[in-house]
Structures are given as structure tokens and as C-alpha cells.
Symmetry: C2
Subunit: 316 residues, 2 copies
């Protein structure tokens, strides 16, 4: 690529398919509104969420484009920090900045496009799950949601502070999500993996979309869900049900996977945790509680256009 050209040029590795995705950072991001997120974090976040979509297809990230609209009074120093955070995060996943566009906009707007490569016909789809496939997550869930609930409640003074160690951990989850690119060469290349999707819309909504895409149902065992340690603490002090946080508001960049048992299950690979199974068609997602009885999905995913995490907090 020549900087200044109309477009960037990338040479596809032989025999590879291209995977491409675009995501915007919502400018009503609560972490920004709460003053918890710096401009460098914002840039990093934008890169990570775009790269996560590439990884969820089992593709290797290869490049990023940044598309920014800024008002005239936006500080150049702030823009530089966004750019630095974006480039640094992209580079950490092997995805350099290859192009972009910066124009005037009445309010700041940040979107990006990520591209990656995957062996021909090997991209992981959502609809690949089969009856009997196991459902797994690539790591702990709920810390992002817990952070939103906690910092929302703190902001209005409704709850006391958690320890600074827990606060720090919640803050990291909220403003520094990391895409799981290390899974591409390991787990995601295993023949047992039949489908993948990242959990950027919350575990509950992601499970629902996965079930819908497959035309199958999913039963999840509540006690098997690897919930981040912070979630119980936040649940207790805010009165928000634990599972509402764990299943609800997203942006953990972990992956939801389906695995075919016939191909051998790597139960411990890369922090993988089995949480459920693909079952008969057309009943969506059920949660099996301690007594083994199914109940509907608690909580809700992040709903664009209507999301307000403060609704989740008891008494809000």
C-alpha cells in the first residue's frame, strides 16, 4: 500500500478466502460518558471489536481501515491518541492500519473495517451446529456487564465502592476488551469446531442468534457457565440478579463455539468451558438450573437503539 493512494492493496495468500467485517464504536458508549475511557482506549476498543469478528470466522486478521468523522473543535491530540490506540491494538493482532478516511462530522464518529484470511471454505459460520454438538465459551463471561452495572450505580451514588483491585478489573473489562486472536491457530483450526460467534451482544443474545442460525435449540447448564469473579460482587452490592449480568449486556470478546463430539472434544483447550448442547430444533435457548428443570433465558443482550444498562440495576 502507498499512503495517499485511493485505496490499499493487499496480496491474498494463495488458497485463502478473504473475511471482512465493519463495526462502529457507538458514540454513546457509557464508558466514555462516565469518563472512564480515554481516547487511546477508544482507538484500541474499535480495533479489538472489529478484529474479534474476523477471529470468530476462524480467520487470521490481516489489516484494518479506520473511518472517522470529527467536528471542527475535536482536538488533534485526542485524534492522535485514538489513532495510536487503534494502530497499537491492530498491530498486536498482526493487522496493520492500511487505509482510512477522515471527514467532518457534527459529532465524533468512529468506525473501522477489518480484513483477514482463512483457508478456502474453512470460515466458521454460525449455522454450522448439528444436533448433539456441545456448546462452549472460550473464557469467563460477565465482567463487561458487571462493569457497566457497577459504574452506572457508582455514578449515581447508589452503592459503595468495591475494592480498588476489583474496580481495576472491572475497568479493564469495560475499556480494554481484547480479541482472542491466539485461538485462531489453535482451537479454531480444530476439526471438531462446527461454529463460532463472538459474544459482543451478550451471552444470552449470542446463544439465541446461534440457535436461530442453526435452526436448532440450545440447552445451557447454568452452573457450568464460567462467570467472572467480579460478577457476584457486583450482583450483591447492586441487587442485580447474577444471571441477568452473566447472560445480559455484552461486550466480552470471548467466543461462543459449537463442537462436534464425534471429532473429539478438546475440553480444556485454551480455557474452553463446555456449557451446553445443541438439542432438538426450534425452541431457542433454555437454561437448566440446579433442579434440572429448564427455564427461559434470563437478562437480555445489548439492544442497539434501546439499550440502557441502568434498567438492569435494582431500584433504578
Amino acid at each position: 500500500m502507498g499512503v495517499g493512494d485511493d485505496a490499499a492493496v493487499l496480496q491474498p495468500p494463495s488458497g485463502m478466502d478473504m473475511v471482512i467485517s465493519t463495526d462502529r464504536v457507538p458514540t454513546d458508549l457509557l464508558a466514555l460518558q462516565f469518563g472512564l475511557m480515554g481516547m487511546r482506549d477508544l482507538g484500541s476498543y474499535l480495533a479489538e471489536v472489529n478484529i474479534s469478528d474476523i477471529i470468530a470466522m476462524a480467520a487470521r486478521p490481516a489489516g484494518l481501515l479506520l473511518n472517522v468523522g470529527l467536528p471542527s473543535d475535536f482536538l488533534i491530540s485526542d485524534f492522535r491518541e485514538v489513532l495510536e490506540g487503534f494502530i497499537e491494538a491492530g498491530s498486536s493482532h498482526g493487522a496493520p492500519l492500511v487505509g482510512g478516511d477522515t471527514t467532518y462530522a457534527p459529532s465524533p464518529t468512529f468506525s473501522a473495517t477489518a480484513v483477514g484470511w482463512v483457508a478456502h471454505d474453512s470460515a466458521l459460520r454460525r449455522g454450522g451446529a448439528k444436533l448433539g454438538d456441545r456448546v462452549a465459551v472460550s473464557g469467563n463471561v460477565g465482567a463487561f456487564g458487571a462493569a457497566l452495572v457497577y459504574f452506572s450505580a457508582r455514578r449515581t451514588g447508589r452503592v459503595n465502592s468495591l475494592s480498588s483491585r476489583t474496580e481495576q478489573r472491572l475497568l479493564e473489562a469495560l475499556v480494554k476488551p481484547k480479541a482472542r486472536s491466539e485461538l485462531v491457530d489453535g482451537l479454531l483450526g480444530e476439526p471438531c469446531v462446527s461454529g463460532a460467534m463472538d459474544i459482543t451482544d451478550g451471552l444470552g443474545q449470542t446463544l439465541s442468534e446461534f440457535a436461530d442460525a442453526s435452526g436448532m435449540g440450545i440447552d445451557v447448564v447454568e452452573s457450568h457457565i464460567p462467570i467472572d469473579d467480579t460478577v457476584a460482587e457486583v450482583s450483591e452490592i447492586t441487587g442485580t440478579p447474577l444471571m441477568d449480568i452473566a447472560f445480559g449486556i455484552g461486550l466480552d470478546l470471548e467466543l461462543l463455539l459449537t463442537l462436534s463430539p464425534a471429532a473429539g472434544l478438546p475440553e480444556e483447550a485454551g480455557g474452553l468451558t463446555l456449557i451446553g448442547e445443541v438439542v432438538e430444533s426450534h425452541h431457542g435457548v433454555r437454561v437448566l438450573r440446579g433442579d434440572g428443570r429448564p427455564s427461559p433465558l434470563p437478562g437480555r443482550g445489548w439492544q442497539h437503539f434501546q439499550g440502557d444498562p441502568e434498567d438492569l440495576i435494582a431500584g433504578a
Copy 2:
């Protein structure tokens, strides 16, 4: 691609490089502010400007991603029109919609990414021009700028109306620019073409960027510039110098090309007009007027963050 997947999958044709570019429609687009541009036009415009960047690299457009941020009160029917215009324009260039993102934003924001394929190592760069290369444009210039100047002046009642035929032509240039994808298989594949760039920032600024990228100067013969018929009419009634319009405000989606005479010049190919020559290094762009004497570049390109076409109008 499966709709609903995290990312789209495209198979690169064997031996081809990928070309990728992203552009935003500035939401302060004057045609929108003037009420001259419908939502369908906006979608089409967004597709065309993105595709034009792919074409300017001599690549064949292959797909589009749409990235939209919308406030809660944005009408679904308007969004549908944007989408239809975008898809229709993309399809007309062989570039289907393959992915996208729609999120909340406090004010409407529309960006897109276009991808295309070009034979390995055959992408046209800006910096490819050599001493003695001819400079050409792929069609008439100035209609977009004339339209901006005219409709700005009309809006404030400073000038009388032009004929409805001329108005219609100006309106088309303003709201329905078309990328020149038909040039990819013809002219842009000719061995004589050493560089290309689209004229979305105005002819003057595009010439300057071309000269800078090549480390060369460019001499342009003023009388050779193929100026759209409407420009003289608008110049006359608004008092704006003809060449300020022709060299100034952009978004004609024509291409500026450099051609190597040694490889044989296709002087008449595809409406191509020779307007100048690549000359000695490091003096930017000069315009040769009737007396053969060089003068500096008139007008100015569209300057993001500070552009105001009304400044161009005499007495404004």
C-alpha cells in the same frame, strides 16, 4: 457470505491482489442541506464514491460494506431508501452488499468500505508518473462544482434561475455522480497508463497530490481542460471565475491519469482528454494560459474541515 455471520467471506480470484478503501458521506453535504438530495441518492452517492477509489486503482469492484449510525428518530423508511440506493448503485458496478453494521449515533452518519480485485502487482498508484508522461482526464470536469456554486447562490436568491434543462444537469452532477467502472477493463488495463486518481477533491487539488506523490511537477494547458458546458453558464450568472469552478470544488468522479508516450497514447479512448504533461521535479502544478506563460493553480480543492463553497461566489 451468510447474512448474520460475524463477517463476510469472499474468495479472491487466483493471482489477484485485493484493493480496499473506505469513505464517509460528510453529513454536512450541501446537497442534503439544500434539500436537493433524497435518501436513495445518498445511498447511491456513498456507494459510488467508495467504488470510485477502487476503480482509480484499476481494480474491478467486488463488494461493499455499509456502516451506518442513526439516531432513534431516524425513519426506517428513510434508512430503507439509503440501503436501496446503496445496493442498486453497488450492483450496477458488480459490487454487491456483503456486510455492514448499524448502530445508534446522535446524528446520522454513513460510511462504507469497498473491495475489489486487480491482477497481482497491477494496481495503479499515484506515484507512478515519469518525466514526459502525459496527463489526462477521463471526462468533463466542473459540473459538480458548478452545481454547488449555482444552488448555493440560488438558495440565497442572489441569482436568477438557469433553464430547467441546465438545472437538471447540474442536479444530476451534484446528487448522482457515477464512478467510471467501465474504464477498468478498457483504458485502465492499457500498458501506457502509469498512474490514476479520482477527482473527488477537485481537479486542482488532485493535480497537486498527483505531482507531490510522483515527486514531479505538472504543467496543465488551460485551454485543453474539458470543462462541462454548465460551468460557463454558472460562472457568468454568479460572477465566479470559470477556472475557479473547473479547478476547484470536487466530486466529479472522473479520473486523472498519467500516460507514458513510449507505450502509445490512446488519445481518444473512453472520452480521454490530454490536458498536460509531467515536467521537471518539485514545482507542483502550473497552468499554461493562452499566452503560454505559466500561472499558479486557480481555485482550490474541497478542504475538509474548512470547505465552504459559498466563499467562491462573488459577493458572498
